[in-house]
């Protein structure tokens, strides 16, 4: 897969997907989508597609798409989709022209909110509530990205088949966020938010601050493990290989 194709997978299935989590973490986002009754489909020519459905104050993400959408936005390529994420291009609306106002005025408010939480500044990281949301979203993006990278990243596709089957639980103590990756032992994986039953390996961060520092590249992970700030147990190869895959994320998402 080309760089742009992999990046498009991450932008859509790991990054934008987090709108379904953001409204549970951020009251402002919850308020914004409270009255929305709308489904938006993103389609890249060649196969990649996803659907964001807003209804009854919730947001659900679907990929591959099964349900119809009110608005269909088409992209000629992965590069075209990526350009939209970088605000250098616009999608081609194929359906839902009457909702263009929503797309132009309302929808960007939540994507801007997502962007706000994913672009921390030193000042923002002084805010405990911000740190919590940033940490949760970073964790969720990471686990969703693993699934995509195993499928489409050249390195991820080499690593995946070497990994044993099993579930890796990632938890920030004392009360979350939590996420998990379920490896199928054949090179694929699915990810979820929350606590998995009977994990094969567990990676815990002693605090939100520790997790946040790691996710934002401000913490030496090996040192933190040795000092007990990050703990792991169980099938350590799951953790080690996941860490290698995590390191592929910045190749595509800055």
């Amino acid at each position: 897969m080309s760089y742009d194709t992999v990046k498009a997978h991450l932008n859509l299935n790991a990054l934008l997907r987090n709108l379904e989590n953001l409204y549970t973490l951020d009251q402002e986002t919850a308020s914004l989508i409270q009255s929305w009754d709308m489904a938006v489909r993103f389609t890249v020519l060649g196969g990649l597609s996803a659907r964001l459905g807003f209804q009854n104050g919730t947001c659900t993400y679907q990929s591959p798409v099964q349900d119809p959408a009110d608005v269909v936005l088409c992209f000629l390529s992965g590069r075209h989709l990526n350009a939209m994420f970088e605000e250098r291009s616009n999608p081609i609306p194929l359906k839902g022209f009457k909702h263009l106002g929503f797309l132009k005025n309302e929808f960007p408010k939540v994507t801007k909110r997502l962007e706000y939480f994913l672009k921390p500044t030193p000042a923002l990281l002084e805010d405990e509530a911000y740190v919590r949301v940033n940490t949760a979203l970073s964790l969720y993006i990471a686990v969703y990205s693993v699934c995509e990278l195993l499928r489409v990243d050249p390195v991820g596709r080499q690593i995946g088949p070497q990994m044993p089957a099993g579930t890796l639980q990632l938890s920030v103590l004392p009360d979350g966020p939590h996420a998990y990756i379920r490896y199928d032992g054949r090179g694929g994986a699915t990810a979820g938010i929350g606590v998995a039953e009977t994990p094969s390996a567990v990676l815990t961060f002693e605090s939100c601050q520790t997790a946040n520092a790691l996710f934002n590249g401000k913490l030496d992970g090996f040192g933190a493990i040795a000092l007990g700030n990050i703990k792991m147990r169980g099938l350590i190869p799951l953790v080690e290989n996941t860490n290698v895959i995590f390191d592929r994320i910045p190749v595509y998402l800055q």
Binding site: Q162, T198, P199, F222, A226, L235, V244
Partner: protein, 416 residues
């Protein structure tokens, strides 16, 4: 029984991370220690089968420096041989007679060896072996075993690891251990390109049960590879001289073309050796491979003393016997506490795992309880016996193991 704490180790590690990447890196990294707070990071001194950490805690050492310690730390004969040579000449501008003497000793003791080449670390000679195989055959591809470890040179590493290029792995084909069908398939697909096959004498991966060669496995490997015009390389870096003084292939009854040794060869002094068959002597001579410290003579002298002492003690049988005493004792204790302990690999360097869960968490918890009481066990790697371990050491270790099982049972979530 007192359980250990590691205040000085932790303080030293905090200093280390400021000036050393990872604090302590590579296979000494604390990362696989689970939980990390149960383990020491730094050792002050070592004697016989024991080491003392920087907090003064005493450990019976079942990792043996991850293999190099085979006769016991600070072994008087080996150290005397080293010190005598070191005082006379260690680093020098020309080679030492000790190098020739050691090569003669290896050629005499190791049936496969018609010549010997020396370096410092295991990877130096696994690399040399692959270069010799490629030079001798004029072919590129190397068959290796999935999960097999031959050092950290790029071609040996797993894909995706930092600093590794896709191209580095282009000519390495990994197949499962003990799988003759997979080997036949690879030979059928890549036969004219295959320079050689490299594997440890038995499969001793980390984080997994170890596997001995199936009946006739190695003999078939040699037959298939030779029929294809390819070479057979045994990476005996970890097991060499612990299972048989003639190389582990003697234990399993086959003759490879090249054997890489290190770890136990000089009881802790830095040395490795590649030995090979006569037909590869010229090819080995043509390959340029060297290092600044590869001719230091002290290690040659230490190796000769070490190998002679191993022979005098019948080291391989002694370590196997000690390993049996240890593993039988642990299996029995485990059973008495309601746990099932599986032993795999060779008894002189066993891999042990509690099988009552499927995620090794019980094993990790139990090993940590043992270590906190003075029996240094890691949960991810095979252990090592040495000739310095005594029956009394093992009996004391079993007392520790007993307490550790009790602690495991008392801790929440660790019921069998």
């Amino acid at each position: 029984m007192k359980t250990y704490t590691y205040e000085n180790s932790t303080a030293l590690f905090k200093r280390a991370v400021k000036v050393i990447p990872c604090g302590v890196y590579g296979h000494f990294s604390p990362a696989p220690y689970v939980p990390v707070e149960a383990y020491p990071f730094f050792s002050d001194r070592a004697r016989g089968a024991r080491f003392w950490d920087v907090d003064g805690n005493e450990f019976i050492d079942y990792m043996c420096a991850y293999g190099p310690m085979v006769l016991g730390y600070a072994h008087p004969e080996v150290d005397a041989a080293f010190l005598k040579q070191h005082a006379e000449s260690d680093a020098n501008s020309v080679a030492s007679p000790r190098m020739v003497e050691l090569a003669e000793l290896l050629v005499d003791r190791i049936p496969t060896a018609d010549w010997a080449f020396f370096a410092r670390n295991g990877a130096d000679v696994t690399n040399m072996a692959v270069m010799v195989a490629r030079s001798a055959t004029g072919r590129k591809k190397i068959i290796a075993i999935k999960g097999g470890y031959h050092g950290t040179t790029p071609w040996m590493q797993a894909p995706g690891h930092h600093g590794i290029l896709e191209e580095d792995l282009q000519h390495v084909i990994r197949i499962p251990w003990n799988d003759i069908k997979a080997l036949e398939t690879v030979i059928a697909e890549h036969g004219p390109d295959i320079a050689g096959f490299i594997a440890t004498p038995y499969h001793h991966p980390v984080f997994a049960d170890n596997e001995l060669p199936a009946e006739g496995y190695w003999q078939k490997v040699v037959e298939l590879l030779h029929k294809n015009g390819s070479l057979v390389i045994v990476d005996d870096v970890r097991a060499g001289f612990r299972l048989h003084l003639g190389g582990s292939c003697e234990r399993y009854g086959f003759k490879p073309d090249l054997i890489a040794f290190s770890k136990a060869i000089a009881n802790g002094y830095a040395l490795s050796s590649l030995v090979g068959v006569e037909s590869l002597r010229v090819d080995a001579a043509k390959v340029f491979h060297t290092g600044s410290f590869w001719f230091c003579a002290g290690s040659f002298a230490a190796a000769m003393a070490c190998l002679k002492e191993l022979q005098r003690l019948d080291g391989a049988n002694l370590m196997e016997s000690l390993g049996k005493q240890l593993t039988d004792g642990i299996v029995s204790l485990a059973s008495s506490h309601g746990y099932t302990m599986k032993v795999s690999g060779e008894l002189a360097m066993p891999y042990m795992r509690i099988t009552d869960d499927n995620n090794v968490m019980l094993q990790q918890a139990w090993c940590s309880e043992c270590t906190k009481r003075g029996a240094f066990f890691t949960s991810h790697h095979n252990w090592f016996l040495s000739t310095a371990h005594t029956e009394a050491d093992i009996n004391h270790t079993l007392d520790i193991c007993d307490e550790a099982f009790k602690a495991l049972k008392n801790s929440s979530g660790a019921q069998p």
